[in-house]
Symmetry: C2
Subunit: 235 residues, 2 copies
DNA sequence: AGCTGCTATTTGTCTGACCATATCGTCGAA
DNA sequence: TTCGACGATATGGTCAGACAAATAGCAGCT
């Protein structure tokens, strides 16, 4: 008997072992893995345990599964990376710096065409337009340019957003059902460059996020980060 | 009796209903949800089914769970966004354009200091340095600048990478255990600007990826995308 | 007041049995 | 030869029961 001291085998152990066999090319790209029952017998666990291990590997993009066809190692690792997107305030305070906020501009506007198209708004809809700056210690950290649909969220018009950012208000006040996030690189220009203390045309890491509630666009925001900002994930 | 036609209730139904109550503020940010047993009784399902629904909500950053303390709606939605990172070839072919590849430069170099530091390499380690261009139809799509550790991967020196990219070779040939990915904005300069047909200093969406195998750095790559590139995800 | 240890409660995981669903092969009919 | 029906098979999911692990909150001690 080996396994004299055998600790209980968990789905984590199974998953780790399967991952080992895959990364060490015991099962190369495209290879067919044994079925769940077979692996359950090998590891001396219930099939449900193997199932959970393999399901997590599927979610991480390591393997592909199809009924009857079985489980295969993905030929080209379409690895999915997860990025956590915290609130600016939390992000800044996590670095140890003091969080500061300044409202730069606040106007009611009619939706410009490009935005109306993107949010599928009727022409001439009124929006609350805001520009504000999030500061880490003394340094500008993030410039926020936001449009809030007053049709979807009339209460926003009564808020002045002088003391705290619209994001924090929206999270408390507005539910959302669907979100689209984009990452891109833009050139700093005009108010953005000025607010972030950057030269005109400098590259800026930018996040755009649009939020809907029950099919209706609630808000669109463009976040521009200060010089050298990057987001990182490991796995 | 309602539920006359009652379809079988699945963890998906439970999850959707919990999510509905959360997004519609029936349970607002920070609120404590009922325990698993209670919900299982309410939905007339096994506790395991409720557990799976709630576990998935946890993974998506919607709720927080702690033993004995119960399950709470996250006060600030630290929503995790998933981005799928395919191979360039697949990414280009998915748009319908023909994929093209050109090797721009291939040299053996000693690790520059900044890279040696980042990869935790000994000073003076030999690396294979490559620059290449991935083309979509007629337009340059992505500039790739890559360093491959010849200590970790000596076989790379025998490859000429004239016909297909180092990424495709590495995926076939080299396992990896750990990956770090960053997104950032940089300024196009020199060879990058030229290859992508951009002006000097134009903003470029850039991805950096470092790969390790069993604690040893295998490769570091810097991918620069053409004008206007963005990556997007919805949920 | 502050510390320590206990306990009840809640989530985490495993088991083995069962049925559901998708689909690959095969076999037979047109 | 081609098409369609059908059975075998692998994964998908549910269930009830059991035990493990973490910990909030309490009781009792110093």
């Amino acid at each position: 008997m080996n396994d004299v001291q055998a600790d209980k085998v968990s789905f984590r152990d199974v998953k780790a072992e399967l991952l080992r066999r895959i990364t060490e090319r015991e099962w190369g790209p495209g290879a067919l893995l044994p079925g769940e029952v077979e692996l359950a017998a090998e590891f001396q666990v219930a099939r449900a345990t193997v199932n959970r291990a393999m399901r997590e590997l599927t979610e991480e993009g390591i393997v592909e599964r199809r009924r009857k066809a079985g489980t295969r190692v993905r030929p080209s690792p379409l690895r999915a990376a997860r990025f956590e997107i915290p609130l600016v305030r939390a992000e800044i305070e996590a670095t140890g710096a003091a969080y500061g906020y300044r409202l730069l501009e606040r106007r009611v506007v009619v939706a410009p065409d490009w935005l109306a198209a993107r949010l599928a708004l009727a022409a001439g809809v009124r929006l609350l337009y805001l520009r504000c700056l999030h500061v880490a210690g003394a340094a500008p950290y993030q410039h926020e340019e936001r449009w809030i649909s007053l049709a979807a969220q009339p209460a926003a018009e009564a808020e002045d957003f002088a003391e705290s950012g619209p994001n924090e208000w929206l999270i408390r006040a507005v539910p959302f059902s669907e979100v689209e996030i984009s990452f891109l690189a833009t050139a700093a220009e005009g108010g953005v460059a000025w607010a972030l203390a950057m030269a005109e045309g400098e590259p800026v890491f930018t996040v755009e996020r649009t939020t809907w509630w029950q099919g209706q666009a609630v808000t669109h925001v463009r976040l521009s980060f200060g010089r050298g900002h990057r987001i990182t994930t490991r796995y």
